[in-house]
């Protein structure tokens, strides 16, 4: 009897399943799949209540920096767990007015480089919160794809490995300006370093003279060589 009961249960339960799939087959119903590039899933409106920035209230897809408001505090760089943000700053000239942010903070540093490598970013949103000026935030633009299949200057494999288009540089400062500022600062540094070097060389020479006087006649040559290497190393270190 169990045997027939089993067969009956099998048939009836299989029919239940078949009814369900047939129901979906014939019933008018909204399909859940989308024709992706033509139709896109609506990005939810995420009014989280902070309210000042319209573009802040959207999903996390791409980092954006309002570079005009950036004060170069590097807080976002330090907060990033994967190190995809790299910031370079230069000191402004004495008395130079670099403007104020929308929060009213006056900018002290010139941001020469604010680079975000989106191929390394893990969208954790940790960098946006420490920002004192609310100038770094996530945008809803999730379409990073690009069609560069027609590029002929690189091989296919290089093209795949190439992620330079995913590295976003937000710094707006012109290269000449950077060069000029860098040159100025370098000049200052060089003068300082030269002075330092001079003092160092004098010190070393004195020490060497002292040692030479102390050493035996047979070892004179070796000691000289030693001193020379030390000197060479010092100068090299100073330059780098």
């Amino acid at each position: 009897m169990n045997y027939f009961k089993n067969i009956y249960i099998a048939i009836s339960t299989l029919m239940t399943g078949m009814k369900l799939t047939l129901g979906y087959f014939v019933r008018p119903r909204e399909y859940v799949t989308l024709q992706y590039p033509d139709e896109v899933w609506p990005i939810p409106e995420r009014n989280i209540g902070t309210g000042e920035l319209a573009s802040y209230n959207v999903i996390r897809s791409k980092l954006h920096v309002d570079i005009d408001d950036c004060i170069g505090c590097k807080k976002c760089e330090r907060a990033c767990p994967v190190g995809c943000i790299s910031i370079d700053v230069l000191k402004g000239d004495k008395g130079e007015d670099l403007g104020v942010t929308k929060n009213g903070t006056s900018i002290k540093l010139v941001v020469t480089k604010h680079q975000i490598d989106m191929s390394e970013c893990m969208f954790c949103d940790l960098c946006t919160h420490p920002c004192p000026e609310d100038c770094i935030y996530m945008e809803a633009d999730y379409r990073f794809e690009r069609n560069d299949n027609k590029r002929k200057d690189v091989t296919v494999k290089e093209r795949w490995r190439d992620r330079s288009t995913l590295i976003y540089d937000f710094a707006k400062i012109a290269q000449e300006d950077v060069d000029a500022r860098t040159a100025k600062i370098e000049e200052e540094n060089r003068l300082k370093a030269e002075e330092k070097e001079k003092a160092m060389a004098e010190k070393l020479a004195a020490a060497a003279a002292k040692q030479t006087a102390k050493a035996d006649a047979e070892q004179t040559q070796n000691v000289k060589a030693d001193v020379e290497t030390t000197l060479f190393k010092t100068t090299e270190g100073g330059e780098s």
Binding site: I7, L14, G17, M18, L20, T21, L22, Y24, F25, V26, R27, P28, R29, E30, Y31, V32, T33, Q35
Partner: protein, 415 residues
Amino acid sequence: MIESMANWFLSLTWFPQMELASVKLLSVLLVGAGLFAFIAVNAIVLVYVERKVSAFMQVRLGPMRVGPYGTLQTVADALKLLLKEDIIPTLADSILFRVGPFIILISAIVAFAAIPFSPTVTAADMSIGLYYIVSISSIVVVGIVMSGWASNNKWSLYGAMRSAAQIVSYEIPVGLTLLAVVAMAGSLNMNEIIIAQGGSSNLFHWIPLPLPNWYMFNNPFLFIAFFMYIIGATAEINRTPFDLPESESELVAGFMTEYSGIRWALFFLSEYANFTLVAFLTAVVFMGGWQSPFETIFAAKTSLLVLLALALAWTGYVKTKANRLSIYPLAIIGLSTIAAWLFPGFAIWITEPGLFWIAMKVLSLIFLLMWFRWTFPRLRVDQLMYVSWKVLMPIALFNLIGVATWMWLTGEIQF
């Protein structure tokens, strides 16, 4: 058909004077090419249909990109497979590896020779048609075992062994259910089996049910036999819930794991050829083949009108944009019905109604098998054997006795 074709060739004035034997050979080649073309096109269409059916059952859209509503998707896929690199593993038995897919495909195509598409369109109207089909289609096992062994891959071997065990086991209940029909019809000739199913049902002639005298409705035993045959046939063509030889979640891809490109396409082709073959066989043996189900009830034209009305009702019922896709086949039926009714002779199913009716039956059976596939989980090997030997076999034997008793009771045979 070969005979008539050869005679037709000879009757043509421009046809070169040849011996009858060579003309026959030419006809055979032509028919073979025709069958192959039919199978290839059929596979391409069925793959598309299957993808759409599965998509609708799974609340998806299915292929939509290549061609209108994705109709050219399988064509594109086939082209891609043709252009792919032909990989033969280094340690594979390269001769058997190459031969395997062809054996499977050939056995599937050759079996079609005995299928009656309509009273006149039957490649070889042989007296042992049913027996021929059943025996030829078992050759598939040889090809599967061959390619599974030759791949030199453990998964392939598992798939091949499972397949061998499965197909051999299911041959028996399937053969027994067919035997019941043969006993009723008293013939192995496919056309004679169909003709025996004409008229109205002798089972239901005392109830006012307009059922045709198909074997499936002939008596309760054959009604059970019909479903048993469907189950057995599903197992023989390795489809879910009996798709163990190629079960993708267990054996990666079973016996076709190592195949790629055109050789893999041949497996696919033969799978769908076998699929269609089984549907044809069921339609012929249990559902009256090329006979119209309505002949006893309505006139042919009226029955077409009924179909049209159904199609229109469906169109009205289904409203959303995406779902309208699922009624396209029915809309086509409806439109062609109008054409056929207005211009008799325009459509082929007025001159050859058999083609239309058998196509309808085969399509609905194919849908049934697809429906199975996209609903059920898969059985385990031992459960598969249980179903075959402990469920289908006894019931098939019981059915055979039952059919014999029925025939004795209704006076078809006397002792």
